[in-house]
Symmetry: C3
Subunit: 139 residues, 3 copies
């Protein structure tokens, strides 16, 4: 059994979902692990991870809209307002989604379904870079 770790930085340009499946796929394939477990972990509390449909791009726009409505930017709703009106909603949106995903590796590839893509879900308005740690265990 072997294990590998890696870090990728995903650039974001405001709220929305950013597909980074290919970056992860490329790293996994290069390691020649046939069977294993891949873990993806984001080191932030105002951006998160989700696996979602990668076919119709409207899906990820609708998802972003939904999370905008459920945790609105309105300083009257929150105590924590010092980092801007988008910060507390970003923490809520993160709590409602994932900071970590583990995906089995089968036959040398992530066992994603046909329509599943791996996304960084950015919850803040400004452009930034998000650090994601990868861990693969297998042989």
């Amino acid at each position: 059994m072997r294990q590998f770790t890696h870090a990728v930085e995903v650039s974001t340009r405001g709220k929305g979902l950013y597909d980074f499946t290919r970056a992860v796929e490329t790293w996994v394939r290069g390691l020649s692990v046939t069977t294993g477990l891949l873990t993806v972990f984001i080191q932030h509390t105002s951006a998160s991870l989700t696996i979602q449909e990668n076919a119709d791009p409207d899906v990820i726009l609708d998802l972003n809209d939904f999370f905008g409505k459920i945790a609105p930017e309105d300083n009257r709703l929150y105590r924590h307002t010092a980092e801007g009106p988008d910060d507390m909603p970003a923490h809520i949106r993160t709590a409602l989604t994932q900071v970590q995903l583990s995906i089995p590796v089968v036959s040398g590839r992530m066992a994603l379904g046909t329509w599943q893509g791996l996304y960084v879900f950015e919850h803040r308005s400004m452009a930034t870079g998000r650090r994601v740690v990868l861990h693969l265990l297998g042989e």
Copy 2:
């Protein structure tokens, strides 16, 4: 250290939670792994996974109702409507729950709490089959 993979198909008959704890438990016990880590991964974006109370069946009915209200079927709310009024709500409900769960294996069994059951959470109206990939690492 050894590892094993398997796939199970869970049949669903419309929106709701479907307990598949026993199918997973049976597979795990047959492998004679005393200590390890089990990962359960669903290969869909309109059905998800959750661990919930398996005692009072009203709990899973109330859960299904809650997710029906939070992401209503109303085409005016979404861009993505081509796959039917239940499809975009299904993606939202999936984003709000899990596509993956990892459970420690201790003394040869999943370390579930007394009242915890493993469910496929179906978010679409039609009857279908949902594919779940299992990965177990241990010895």
Copy 3:
């Protein structure tokens, strides 16, 4: 490759987030694992896990408020009322967050971001103890 399991009990005093990062960190450090995968699993369906900001304490108060509003205590909304008005909301709040988190271990430490803390999110009103199972795999 070696693996270790452990259980910690986190005492809670009503709804809210309880930081238990240090208890986990102490256990991990004592095992002298340089690279690995840590899994944290809570054995309950009315308390959950989340990774959130540990800098401004207002963030976790606002989070608790948000989850109080999204799943209100109102017996008219639910079938499952026999265990008290806070029980069904607790199951919903658990479904919306996590029962399990896996965190890569790099250079002998959990690869948490600078502001990330590990919390038990208590969703019931009464004081109680919550059992969390830890599993570490690595070398």
